[in-house]
């Protein structure tokens, strides 16, 4: 389980888990689950486009993730957020379908991007991933106070002079960066499960924001490590274990929170 060829998987998984734990905490706090699904899923179309024109897929992934995230925030300022998210997502996916129809390299690469291949991470990839991950966390650290306030109560934040749209935009870029870090390893469809499951469980259990953040990272790390171990020993896809553990954690946390409060929300 700790063979040399698996060390990059462990290291990569740890980076992804820390980033997803931090970013996911804010995603859940802001009720941005759909956004967190749309950005990785739509960004995969960018990777398909990059393959088509012969560029590194990571570049296409990053460009589409950032473009989609910023587009959703800007279009969503004066409309229902979920509607704009849905339409941006399907437009990106439709572009992906167009790119795929132009290129000959079909299923294998696409499949890998959708469901990920954490056991196929190369050491070069690890360096890029690490740098992007650190950048992502630095960005969050930079705006953590206004971000917290704007997430909990946009109206209060605006009245205190916080530029709410600016904060939203920076956070959109953070989600885009986190996506670019994680999608090649855990896949577009499963990246968002990491952003939602463990952080939502943490939210149910924690009493303060600081607690929530730490717990969120801890639970995500546990999820990713357990998933890698199970995937290696059973030879089944890592995405299944990651999502199943995430859902179980959330179910357990919801039950615990409910019994602790003694009332049904």
């Amino acid at each position: 389980m700790f063979a040399a060829y698996l060390m990059t998987a462990w290291a990569g998984g740890t980076i992804v888990a820390v980033v997803a734990g931090v970013v996911g905490f804010f995603v859940v706090l802001r009720g941005n689950a759909f956004f967190a699904h749309a950005v990785p899923h739509g960004a995969f179309a960018g990777a398909a486009g990059a393959v088509l024109i012969g560029v590194n897929p990571l570049v296409g992934l990053g460009v589409f993730a950032a473009g989609g995230a910023v587009g959703i925030v800007l279009l969503g300022r004066r409309a229902r957020h979920d509607v704009v998210t849905a339409l941006t997502l399907v437009t990106m996916l439709a572009l992906g379908a167009l790119f795929l129809s132009r290129s000959r390299e079909y299923s294998a690469q696409v499949f890998a991007l959708l469901f990920g291949q954490i056991l196929g991470v190369s050491p070069d990839q690890l360096v890029t991933t690490g740098l992007l991950g650190v950048g992502c966390l630095a960005l969050v650290a930079l705006i953590v106070r206004p971000l917290l306030l704007a997430s909990v109560s946009p109206a209060l934040a605006a009245s205190r002079g916080v530029p709410v749209t600016g904060v939203d935009l920076v956070f959109a870029l953070v989600v885009a960066a986190a996506t670019t870090v994680s999608v090649p390893m855990v896949g577009a469809l499963l990246m968002f499960a990491l952003l939602i499951g463990p952080p939502a469980a943490a939210q149910r259990l924690a009493r303060t924001a600081g607690q929530g953040l730490v717990l969120s990272v801890a639970l995500t790390l546990v999820t990713v490590w357990a998933s890698i171990a199970l995937a290696v020993t059973t030879d089944l896809p890592i995405g299944f274990f990651a999502t199943a553990i995430g859902a179980l954690l959330y179910g357990g946390a919801a039950g615990a929170a409910r019994s602790r409060r003694g009332r049904v929300e």
Binding site: A33, F34, R80, A94, L190, A193, L236
Partner: protein, 286 residues
């Protein structure tokens, strides 16, 4: 050009199925958008892949896999969802994530037992032009069932959508109303993701309805307008895809792309018209 378009049997099937699916999606979409359940609508479309791959594993008809997966996920989302929008989003996300994980598992097991389930891939990237004609009657029947459910719960759901507490006070069984609506939504998106793929399914569910709701707040008017818009968009998309065959030396644009482009451009255009003329209802919901 047009005579060739209408003479092609592929186009005829695509237009019939596309119009049926578009009309149902437009009508159901109006409620979906007003209730803020776009995420659930999209998640249910993608979750068709679980049903498709799971049914292949069990050796049962994929159609029933689709329907079953849709209804089960809808009930699960409603069961763990809370009334707060944020909580509901997270509940949808957890069910959605778990479902996609199961898809990954089923797909792997499918390849282990030999062969592969094309259904899951066709859910994600299905095409209106590669329809299985045997599915046409089933799709029409499912569409009728969906419309019947919507018609039966129309009054409940409209009231419950506008004001849940008022609806409860008037004696509307709100829990039943929202669960039944979610099942109707699941059927609508399953039938469209089965026939034309999840991308188009979400586009037709949300786009026309959101466009219609920019111009009217009456749910009935909006539903009619959305259904008509969706049917026109499908027709235009099919035509552009068909014609584009000649533009690029014999490889046409995918029909999913042209229809989604039509949907997106219509919505953005409508937003621009509203912004320029101050036309939108001041409290428009979309």
């Amino acid at each position: 050009m047009l005579s060739a378009f209408f003479a092609s049997p592929t186009v005829q099937t695509a237009l019939v199925v596309g119009s049926v699916v578009a009309a149902v999606s437009g009508i159901v979409g109006v409620f979906t958008v007003t209730r803020g359940q776009s995420f659930a609508g999209h998640a249910l479309a993608d979750l068709g892949a679980v049903g498709g791959s799971g049914a292949f594993l069990l050796g049962i008809s994929q159609l029933w896999g689709f329907v079953l997966a849709g209804v089960v996920s809808a009930v699960a989302m409603e069961a763990i969802g809370t009334r707060r929008l944020e909580g509901r989003d997270v509940a949808t996300g957890v069910v959605f994530g778990a479902g996609m994980g199961l898809t990954a598992l089923f797909l792997t097991l499918d390849t282990l037992i030999g062969g592969s389930s094309n259904a899951a891939i066709s859910v994600l990237f299905g095409s209106l032009f590669s329809l299985d004609t045997r599915l046409v009657p089933v799709i029409v029947v499912l569409a009728l069932v969906t419309l019947m459910i919507v018609a039966v719960i129309w009054r409940w759901v409209s009231l419950e959508t506008l004001d849940r507490d008022l609806a409860a006070a008037r004696g509307v069984p709100t829990r039943w109303a929202s669960t039944l609506f979610l099942i109707a939504l699941a059927l609508a998106v399953q039938l469209s993701s089965l026939s034309i793929g999840a991308i188009l399914s979400t586009a037709l569910l949300i786009g026309p309805a959101a466009t219609a709701l920019l111009f009217t707040r009456r749910l009935g008017t909006a539903a009619a307008l959305a259904a008509m818009t969706a049917v026109v968009q499908v027709g235009v998309g099919c035509l552009v895809s068909f014609v584009s065959y000649d533009w690029f030396g014999g490889s046409s644009w995918p029909v999913s792309f042209t229809i989604v482009a039509a949907v997106f451009l219509t919505y953005v255009g409508a937003r621009a018209v509203c912004a320029l003329r101050g036309f939108a209802h001041p409290t428009a919901v979309a």
